[in-house]
């Protein structure tokens, strides 16, 4: 265990604050869009690699999230770290439910080509705040 004298330092809020302040900024991840989920496996001496990309939009706007797939086919997203989804449609529905500020209501429903209240349906869903 961590010795008691060291552990007691955690009672000082600034001890933790100074540490957190020095942590590197979260990286951009794979940055580009669409992201690639890579599944790998070995079976009877054969090496299996499956790369999957998703291009997702909601109301015609790109949804810049990274979907990770497990070998059982379930889908994960970093923004909901304790969830797994049977389908990516379910995953996006959950994001809309948990992050409503990033998916504001914008007039009439979008059609499959992204047309809705905003000309051209440009822009992305804001994953950086509201």
């Amino acid at each position: 265990m961590i010795n008691p004298e060291e552990m007691a330092k955690l009672a000082d809020p600034d001890f933790l604050a100074n540490y957190l302040a020095g942590l590197p900024q979260p990286g951009p991840g794979h940055g580009g869009h669409p992201a690639v989920s890579v599944r790998e496996d070995s079976y009877k001496g054969h090496r299996i690699v499956i790369k999957t990309t998703y291009e997702m939009t909601v109301d015609g706007k790109p949804l810049p999230i990274h979907v990770s797939l497990s070998n059982d086919g379930s889908a994960h997203v970093h923004g909901l770290p304790n969830y797994q989804f049977l389908s990516v449609v379910d995953l996006v529905r959950a994001l809309i439910e948990f992050f409503p500020n990033e998916f504001p209501a914008e007039g009439p429903p979008a059609d499959e080509y992204g047309g809705h209240g905003e000309p051209g349906g440009h822009g992305t869903h804001n994953a950086g705040g509201s």
């Binding site: 961590i2 809020p13 020095g22 942590l23 994960h76 970093h78 989804f85 705040g129």
Partner: protein
């Protein structure tokens, strides 16, 4: 002397002290502000309170690549979906515990745990549990935001509980807010879970009898590839695959317990204290074992037994350092 961690439902004193301590930590500003970090939190410059340091810590651990240079958005990260899940959260809980001891001026305070497996079988449903009732010393109920209990947000009362930092949907950035706490109990899949894990499911995680009576792999802490697909106890307790145990509790509570900033809900710590209690029981049964050891390849750097956890302690804070904390705290009852 080791403090004793007690059941939050059955121990009024622990419950009341926890609520009081959380509110004190929420009111206590640190020297840090929203611009103090290498990752400034967008919005006006505001102080960071002590409680919210733990929200940030959790978020940052989730976004710390292990090993460095990899992408934490896929697979395991420095807090989840890998072997460090249990020791990292154990260290985090200890951090909150010593903070609570300080603001409560009670060195004997032990972080209480929420035995959700008991609540799973309540006749009135889990939401009928005492901790969700509208009383001064409970967690309050559900709602968007919650409207009952001592954690209700009141915009005109600066001492009222409020969520100040929230994650974005991609889980790799966060921003400021000022709002009440959200909970959505028991939503069915895919938005949540309509049930809590049961006592039977908890006990099954300890059943290492030969097949078909049990699952012998549960006697081992973890297995390659040390991720969400692994056999072993860690993955079962974390809740992959199939959304059992730990994960299902997040899903049942819903709301702010969903995103990467889930410590925003004080029930997060009660929940993880129970997860820690279950891990402690497993170690009593199977030994204080951990995998992977230091012979594991560098691709597992950050998850090996003597690697540094994401904590202020550097190489003093490793998974090994968290395997025996019995001189620091014990549990009144082990499952």
């Amino acid at each position: 002397m080791a403090v004793v961690r007690r059941n939050v439902v059955t121990n009024l004193a622990a419950r009341a002290a926890y609520i009081r301590g959380v509110k004190l930590l929420k009111q206590e500003n640190t020297s840090a502000t929203t611009t103090s970090f290498t990752f400034p939190i967008p919005g006006p410059v505001n102080p960071i309170n002590t409680y919210d340091l733990f929200v940030i810590w959790h978020f940052m651990a989730m976004n710390s690549p292990v090993p460095p240079g990899t992408d934490p958005l896929f697979g395991r990260n420095a807090a989840h979906s890998g072997p460090v899940f249990l020791p990292w959260h154990r260290l985090m809980l200890s951090g909150l515990e010593v903070q609570l001891q300080r603001v409560l001026n009670d060195p004997n305070f032990g972080l209480p745990y929420w035995d959700w497996a008991v609540d799973a079988s309540l006749v009135g449903g889990p939401q009928s549990s005492l901790i969700w009732q509208n009383q001064p010393d409970t967690m309050g109920g559900q709602g968007t935001p919650i409207s009952t209990g001592p954690l209700v947000f009141n915009n005109t009362d600066p001492t009222s509980f409020r969520v100040l930092i929230e994650s974005s949907s991609d889980g790799r950035s966060f921003h400021q807010t000022k709002r009440g706490l959200n909970r959505t109990f028991g939503q069915p899949p895919p938005l949540g879970s309509s049930t809590l894990p049961t006592a039977t499911e908890v006990l099954a995680a300890f059943n290492t009898l030969p097949e078909p009576l049990g699952e012998p792999h549960l006697a081992t802490y973890d297995f390659a590839p040390f991720d969400r697909s692994s056999n072993g106890f860690r993955n079962r307790l974390e809740g992959w695959p199939g959304g059992v145990l730990h994960n299902r509790v997040h899903q049942w509570v819903g709301g702010d317990m969903g995103p990467a900033t889930s410590p925003n809900d004080p029930v997060f710590f009660l929940h993880h204290c129970n997860v820690d209690r279950i891990w402690e029981r497993w170690m009593q049964l199977n030994g204080r074992n951990y995998l992977p050891d230091m012979t594991a390849p560098p691709t597992l750097l950050g998850h090996r037994i003597d690697d540094a956890l994401i904590s202020p302690f550097g190489l003093a804070g490793t998974p090994r350092s968290q395997l025996d904390t019995t001189t620091q705290y014990t549990y009144d009852v082990i499952p």
